[in-house]
Amino acid sequence: MMKLRFMLVTLLLLFMACLDSSYPFDTVEGPVDITYTLAAGGTVEVIVTDSYMGLVRTLVDAQEEEAGGHTVTWDLMDDDGEYPENGLYNVEIYLDGDRMEVQVLEVNR
């Protein structure tokens, strides 16, 4: 009986592990820290766009930053202080006008 229970629990754990999937984006339900690393200092802009590439939020607006790691927090609101609809959003990081990095987030409040 113990063996049967052990097998069932093992199979259940394996099944749960199989269902678990890691996607190349994070799902966020509340304020999220955006981290990025600059290889060189310069003028930085960090914006959030939606799946129509429309501007939702400007997190960093043409700010001079030094090389190294930086963090900015997005409270999941747009520039008007409203919550946009749930969906896929892109955090675009620009250095001296060139897009340096894109981070994709699934917002599900």
């Binding site: 199979l11 394996l14 099944f15 592990a17 199989c18 269902l19 999937s21 996607y23 190349p24 984006f25 799902t27 766009t49 939606d50 799946s51 129509y52 590439m53 429309g54 501007l55 939702v56 747009d78 946009p84 609809e85 749930n86 969906g87 896929l88 892109n90 675009e92 897009r99 990095e101 894109v102 981070q103 994709v104 699934e106 917002v107 599900n108």
Partner: protein, 224 residues
Amino acid sequence: MGALTAFLALAVLQGSSFRIGFTFDGSWPSMGDEKDYADLLEEGGIDYNLDGTTWTGGIEALGDVSDKLRLRGAVSVSRFHGVYEDDYDPFGYAITGILTGGLLFLFGSGDEDVVAMEDAATNIELACYYKLGAISVGGGPTFVSITRSMDTPNTASSESASGPGFTAGVRLDGESGGFLGLPIVFGVEGGYRFSSVSFDTEYSDDFEVDFSGPYVRIGTYLKL
């Protein structure tokens, strides 16, 4: 729809040759903004793939209003997809398959649509062709209504927009024939479709879903 009905009535009343049938076409749309969005997701580490070809199915009617003029009215639906699929790992797929008694192997595809985008366009077309022997050349206005939907594991969203368009093409229609005793004829058309709609959303007013591009259409018609 009123114009389409009037056209069909005219074709039936005037036409020495009226036919109605099903069509199927393949086209190669430009989809510039969809490609830019795909590039953005690629930069974000998502292996997002867009369709290269758009498939369209429809119903259309053709009627001659004179020896030289042929009218065409059609309603069709086009679909264009973008998708990021997550492959199951082989071990997990095997275990899940065994635990589901093999049902996964029967009905599962081994991958999952994680990000799925669909542009679905409903097209209403009216066209006039000038007959040059066996072929006819012409075009006409279209009206397109597009719904763009985007699904992710936990969210779903969609927006709709509509606008005018235009098609121009060359047709080759069978004028006589039969199949299994029925008056069935075939037709083929190649041309170019101008069909671009801008989406005016809360944060964007210039995202274009652009179905414009060359197309090849085949049709099977019942000749009345």
